[in-house]
Structures are given as C-alpha cells and as structure tokens.
C-alpha cells in the first residue's frame, strides 16, 4: 500500500545510500613467471542527489547494484590493483566523476591474507598460502568535489604473552572482587584503524606494515625479556604514540584491544597444585579497551 502525501509530509530524510556488498575479486599481475596476487572483498555504497527513488518509486537515477558490481570488476581490469587503498580511491573517483548525480561514495575493502610460499629465502613464483594472522582493510569516504577521506586498518591480529603483564592499584568498591595481579597472561585480538592526512604519493604497504610492526613491537617488547604492561590502556596508548611518530602520513589512530582472559584452574579439590601452568581460556565475557588519539596541530615553519 503506497504512502499518502499526508503521511510523507511528516517525514524527512536523515541519510540514504545503496550499493553492492561483498564484491570479490582476485587480481593477478604477471611479471614473466613471477605472479603477484591481491584478493579482495569490496562493499560499495552510493548516495544520489535525488531521493525520488525512495519517494515516488522513480528508478531513472538508480545505477543498479549489479552495475556497481560490474564496475568493480571492470576497474580492476582497467586500473589494476596495486594496493586496496588506491583501488578504493579509484572506485570512489569513478562513481563521482562518471555520473553527475552521485553525491557521496563509500568504499570498504578487505584484503585476503595470502602469503607467498617461501623456503630458505627462496620465494615461490606463483604459489601462496592463506595466512590469517591479521586482516588488512581500508575505507574511503568521498563527497562530490571534495578530497577522499581514507582510513586503513588491521584487525583480528591475535597475540598472547605469558608474563610481563599485571594489573594493580585499581579502584575498589563493594562490588569489586578482582584480585590484584603482578604477573598474568595478556591475550588480545588487536583492531586498529587510522586516518591518513594525505592520499597522494603514499606508500600504503609500507605504512600498514609500520603500524602492524609497531603494535607487535610494543606488545612483545625486547625478545629476550619483553616489556611490562601495567594495563591494556597503557600498552594501547604507547602503541599509538609510536605509530604517530613513525608514520607522518597518519593523522589519527583508533585502537581496540579486547582483554581475553585466561584463568588459572583451581585444582586444589583434586589435590593438585597448579602453579599457573594450566589455564582456562575464557572467550566470554572479555574486557574491551579502546582509545583514539590524533596529532596535535603543529605550528608550521
């Protein structure tokens, strides 16, 4: 039953957008017998100038989502895929310039974690293994006649250390039962998302690797003795500070670190003394620690 104009009069738009999700593509670049691949999954969303599609059922402005899918395929062929960031910007640029009635584009891309096979320092020419130790993703949001806003990120990077982590001196109230800990396991699945302050002439691969390495470096510390973490909050913040110091192209970074708890199993009822040797991984509930920092505006020489 169509809405009446009286009913429509009481309604105003907040936001509209439509597109295609989960467009998957495997891109192969061949340099002789040495092959390079990027496999990605893209979500593309458009916002159009007119809302007549929503208001009256007039579809004449709608670029079908099937076309959106075809466009992603075609752009992979025409532009190639060097980095998911550049590809996302190419898609966004296309939709804003090939049409006069698209006012906003949002592109989210995740990259499949294929790792080239390597043995004794020798790389395989064309074989890869799926290595989900971390997931690389990016997002472009661009309005018509404006520069794109580009975020990149890493997620599902699960790390664990068995010592050099503690938690003491916290606030206690009548509901607090937690015991202070000087030495505990610290396990987290890191999520980090950062915004670039420039999008041209940026080595996105290098930037992503720098952030990933910095996260691991701050978490693990020196390989022989580690580095003490007084809280997830401190480790999270320290990571952000070194990222901003090392990667000038990053303007702002958000990190989320859940605290995945491992509890020492009490075996006293079995007559056994468990010296923090056998632990119970508990996936729920988990702590969740977040923080976002940005560069302080600097005076320019």
């Amino acid at each position: 039953m169509a809405t009446t104009s009286t009913q429509q009069k009481n309604v105003e738009f907040v936001r509209t957008g439509y597109g295609k999700n989960l467009v998957k593509v495997l891109y192969i670049r061949r340099e002789g017998t040495h092959h390079y691949i990027t496999e990605l999954t893209a979500n593309v969303e458009l916002t159009l100038k007119s809302r007549k599609d929503y208001l009256t059922g007039d579809n004449s402005d709608i670029i079908p989502t099937d076309t959106v899918k075809n466009t992603v395929h075609a752009l992979a062929k025409l532009k190639g895929v060097l980095t998911i960031e550049q590809f996302a910007m190419d898609i966004s640029e296309h939709f804003l310039t090939a049409f006069k009635h698209v006012t906003r584009v949002n592109v989210k891309i995740e990259e499949a974690p294929w790792r080239r096979l390597e043995k004794n320092g020798v790389e395989h020419a064309h074989a890869f293994i799926y290595s989900p130790e971390s997931c690389r993703f990016c997002e472009v949001e661009q309005n018509l006649n404006e520069s794109p806003v580009l975020h990149s990120g890493v997620k599902n990077m699960k790390v664990l250390k068995t010592t050099q982590s503690g938690f003491e001196g916290f606030f206690r109230d009548r509901f607090t039962t937690l015991q202070e800990a000087k030495d505990r396991c610290f396990c987290t699945s890191v999520y980090a998302r950062w915004r670039y302050n420039k999008v041209q002439n940026v080595d996105f691969d290098s930037a992503w690797n720098s952030v990933k390495e910095s996260i691991i470096e701050k978490f693990a510390g020196p390989y022989d003795r580690g580095e003490y973490s007084p809280s997830v909050q401190k480790t999270l913040y320290d990571t952000q500070v070194i990222v901003l110091d090392r990667v000038p192209e990053v303007e702002e970074i958000e990190i989320v670190m859940p605290n995945q708890h491992y509890f020492t199993i009490d075996m006293t009822k079995m007559g056994l003394t468990n010296n923090n040797e056998v632990l119970l991984p508990l996936d729920n509930p988990s702590g969740n620690i977040t923080g976002t920092v940005r560069r302080k505006p600097q005076a320019k020489l």
């Binding site: 520069s147 302050n197 002439n201 940026v202 192209e249 505006p297 600097q298 005076a299 320019k300 020489l301």
Partner: protein
C-alpha cells in the same frame, strides 16, 4: 595587494601546470608576467635580484609557486611544485631550503636532512666541507631523492647528527652571519627538538634580515613547538604586520591561541585564513584551495567553545555562516 599576489601566482601556476610543452608565445607571455610582477614590486628584492635571463622561467616559476603555496598553507602542493623545480634545476638553493622546511613540517625528518645536505653540496660557499665526507657526498642522487615517494618506516633520522655538525661547522667558519645557513640550522634544531637552539638560529638570521616575514613566522613556529606560546604570538604578529596576507602565519597564530586557551581568537584567525584562501581561488581551478588542516584546526577551536551550531557549520564547511557569526564578513 596581498590577496592579488596570491591570486596572481596561483593563476600563474595554473597556466604553467596546464602547459606541458613550452611554447615561445607562452613563454613570452610568462616573461611579461614576470616583468609586471617585478614592476609592481610584488617580488621581494631578493627574488628580483635572482632572475638572470640565463635562468629558465619554467624553473623559477615552479620555485615561486612552491614557496607561495607553502605561505598559503598548502603544504602538499608546495612539495610537488618544489620537486618539479628541482627536477629542472637541482641546485636551486631557495627551492632546496623551502623543500627542507616543507618536509620538516610534514614529519619527513630523514628526507629533510637529505635535502639540507644537498643544499650544502650545491652551495659554493660550503661544499668544501663535504670533501672529506665521501659517505655523504654520495651520488648525483639529490635529484632522484627529490621526487621519490615518501619512505615510511625509517624510524630514526640517521643523517641528522652529521648534517647538524656540518651546518654548525659552516656557521663557525663564517665571519658574517649567513641568514640562509642559520635558517638551515634552525630547521635542523626543530627536527631534533632542540627548540631553544633553533630560536637562536632564527634570531641570528633575523638580525641580518629583520623585514623577512618568512623568518618571523619560522621563529614563531619554533617558539610555539617549544611551548613558548606567548613569544610565538609576538613573532607571528610581526610577520603579519609585514605581510598581512600571510595565511600560514595566521594559521599558526590560531594554533597558539588554542594553546593559550583563547578559542574565540583562534577560530577567528582560522576563519580569516580560510576566507583569504577562498578569495584566491581562480575560476579556472575546480578543486579545493582551502586547506584541510585549517578546517580541522577550526573544528578543534569551535569544539572547545561549546557552541554546537557553529561546530556543525564547520562540519559542513559553511564558511559564510561562520564568518557572519564572528563578524568577519565584509
């Protein structure tokens, strides 16, 4: 006058940008433009003295475009222009120094040090200092370095200590203060966060060129980054007295206002800067000329003023509404 300079040079630059091939008629026009600018005193005496007919107008134009873009708080564009200039003429000292400054501003510490090394190498007064340093003398690679993509991931600036040493050595050998050398020192001390030493260097440069508004701004920025905000404001004020259309300095002034808790003044300064940028937009340019970082700083200032409707106006880029709210509309 200041606005016109900005407009003039941006259009000038656009004409240059659009013409890939050099064309006699085009260059005759360019030469005429140049002479007109000189006639109207829109070039500093320094620049006028540096236009020998042997210098390709192409290279000079990129240099001036680059430095103008930096003055107008358009850093990335400035870097591109200066790199173009250096591709044509790798030993353009002014372009090298300006590029080193821009790279420092964008956090490219190692790259900035390399450029300053090039400056020394191409400077006939000082290149003798590099004679025994074969590991630094390196390749004719100054040119290659200028146009490469930013190298993320080189965490330390390994060149910094040596380049600083060289500049200090050069300064010691000088009888008279060389303001350009002192500028280089000031930049290096900014990179190493030795702000008080940087202040000394820029003060030394200013003693030779007290009317140089760029130096006053550099002094101000150094003071600001060294947490001496009140003194920074004095330096910016002096720069703006000398060059009221100096957008970068006005942006810097706004930053210092934020740091001093004067959020209203900060917002006012950012709005003035944005409005100057907007006025300079040539009809031929369709892209944005207003700087993202000025808008970002404005949003910060407005967010601290607890006036959500103004913050919202900044989010959607409504400059006119904001100008009105601050009584800046003319």
């Amino acid at each position: 006058m200041e606005l016109s300079t900005v407009t003039r040079l941006e259009v000038f630059g656009l004409m240059l940008y659009l013409s890939c091939e050099s064309d006699t008629e085009f260059w005759d026009k360019m030469q005429a433009e140049w002479e007109e600018l000189a006639r109207r005193n829109w070039l500093t005496e320094n620049e006028q003295a540096q236009i020998p007919s042997s210098v390709s107008p192409h290279e000079k134009a990129w240099q001036v475009l680059g430095t103008t873009q930096a003055e107008n708080e358009n850093e990335q564009a400035a870097i591109v222009s200066l790199q173009r200039c250096l591709e044509l003429h790798p030993n353009n000292l002014q372009a090298l120094m300006a590029l080193a400054v821009s790279l420092t501003n964008t956090g490219m510490r190692q790259d900035a040090c390399e450029v300053l090394l090039c400056w020394l190498r191409h400077n006939s007064k000082y290149n003798h200092l590099l004679k025994d340093k074969s590991h630094l003398a390196g390749s004719p690679g100054c040119q290659r370095r200028m146009s490469r993509v930013s190298t993320v991931g080189r965490y330390e600036s390994s060149l910094l200590p040596e380049v600083k040493e060289l500049f200090l050595e050069a300064a010691q050998h000088n009888r008279d203060t060389d303001p350009d050398l002192q500028t280089g020192l000031g930049v290096l001390f900014n990179i190493s966060a030795e702000f008080n030493k940087a202040v000394e260097a820029f003060n030394a440069a200013l003693s030779v060129r007290p009317e140089d508004y760029l130096l006053w701004n550099r002094l101000g920025a150094t003071l600001a980054n060294g947490d001496r905000s009140e003194e920074a404001v004095e330096a910016y004020t002096r720069a703006l007295e000398l060059q009221p259309g100096f957008i970068r300095s006005r942006y810097n002034l706004g930053i210092s206002c934020i740091n001093l808790g004067a959020h209203r003044e900060a917002a006012s300064n950012f709005l003035t800067a944005l409005s100057l940028q907007r006025k300079s937009r040539s009809r031929q340019l369709s892209h944005q000329v207003m700087s993202g970082n000025i808008w970002a700083a404005l949003r910060i200032a407005l967010s601290m003023m607890d006036q959500p409707e103004l913050f919202q106006a900044a989010n959607i880029g409504d400059l006119d509404l904001l100008m009105k709210a601050f009584n800046l509309d003319m």
